[in-house]
């Protein structure tokens, strides 16, 4: 039973800042599981930047999954398209290998917020699927819950990077600046978690319309 998940977050940064921060979002305090990150290909096509990166992560699985998965390291392919004219950044990530056991596909669309000028909206969609007979439902449920839990962590981690790259412009004293940054960081984290309102919807496999 494939499952679909969608969540919208708002970043208190301009789209240009978010787009710059996207390439530098690792490492952050919430990304200790990310081991490596590489650019595999990159080109400009019709004014849009098209990139592909390979990321490796550790991804612990529950004990019962050990019969299907023998490695703790997973590779992720991240495709992205940056369109500076429409101010749109689209990312699409998929796991490499073990896709029959569990496939996690994530798409994020970052655009300028229409309601809040100077802020950026990120709409994150995820598809979690498994083709292991008899276990797919349990695996999907596990993957779905884990993804949901990690969403907020990802947003907070990204916010941390953005705050470091683009500290708020205020105060003259460095001490004041630092204090402001710290409290802003807290606010950003709070803001991020408040905005992570999940609209989680389980999808019933179209292949098995009679099963639920």
């Amino acid at each position: 039973m494939p499952r679909y998940f969608e969540v919208t977050s708002i970043f208190n940064f301009t789209w240009d800042q978010v787009a710059q921060g996207f390439w530098r979002r690792y490492p952050n305090p919430n990304s200790k599981h990310v081991l490596t990150e590489d650019t595999v290909s990159r080109e400009v096509k019709e004014g849009r930047l098209i990139s592909k990166r390979l990321i490796s992560k550790t991804n612990p699985y529950p004990k019962w999954a050990e019969r299907f998965i023998t490695t703790k390291k997973v590779f992720i392919v991240e495709e992205s398209i940056v369109d500076p004219k429409t101010k749109t950044l689209v990312t699409y990530t998929r796991n490499l290998g073990y896709v029959k056991v569990m496939s996690v596909i994530e798409k994020v669309v970052y655009t300028e917020s229409k309601d809040h000028p100077g802020k950026t909206v990120a709409v994150r969609s995820a598809w979690i699927d498994s083709q292991i007979k008899g276990f797919s439902r349990a695996i999907c449920a596990f993957g779905y819950e884990r993804f949901k839990k990690n969403c907020n962590k990802m947003v907070v981690g990204f916010n941390h990077v953005l705050l470091n790259l683009f500290p708020p412009q205020s105060g003259n004293g460095s001490l004041h600046q630092e204090a402001t940054t710290r409290s802003k960081l807290k606010d950003a984290a709070k803001n991020a978690s408040e905005h992570v309102k999940s609209k989680a919807v389980p999808i019933y496999a179209s292949l098995h319309p009679n099963k639920s």
């Binding site: 240009d16 390439w23 530098r24 590779f75 495709e79 500076p84 490499l96 969609s125």
Partner: protein
Amino acid sequence: MNSIGTACNDLKKEYDTCFNTWFAEHFLKGNSDDSMCAPMLKIYKECVKKAMKERQIDVKEVEKDILGTENERKIPEQQGR
């Protein structure tokens, strides 16, 4: 961040630094000429490809284009959407 291949780390750092400058100062400002970091990207990419092969990573699978093609997953139709 580190590269998958330890031999590529320096090349990666050099390229990433160049890319981040190019992205902020040129690309986002409407200049899409990407020749500035191209020589660094070429050497770095070759290094990564070699490292992927050494680790038995399916390079073809990595290089597959999904985003922007019809193989992309679709957002399911929902009532009230």
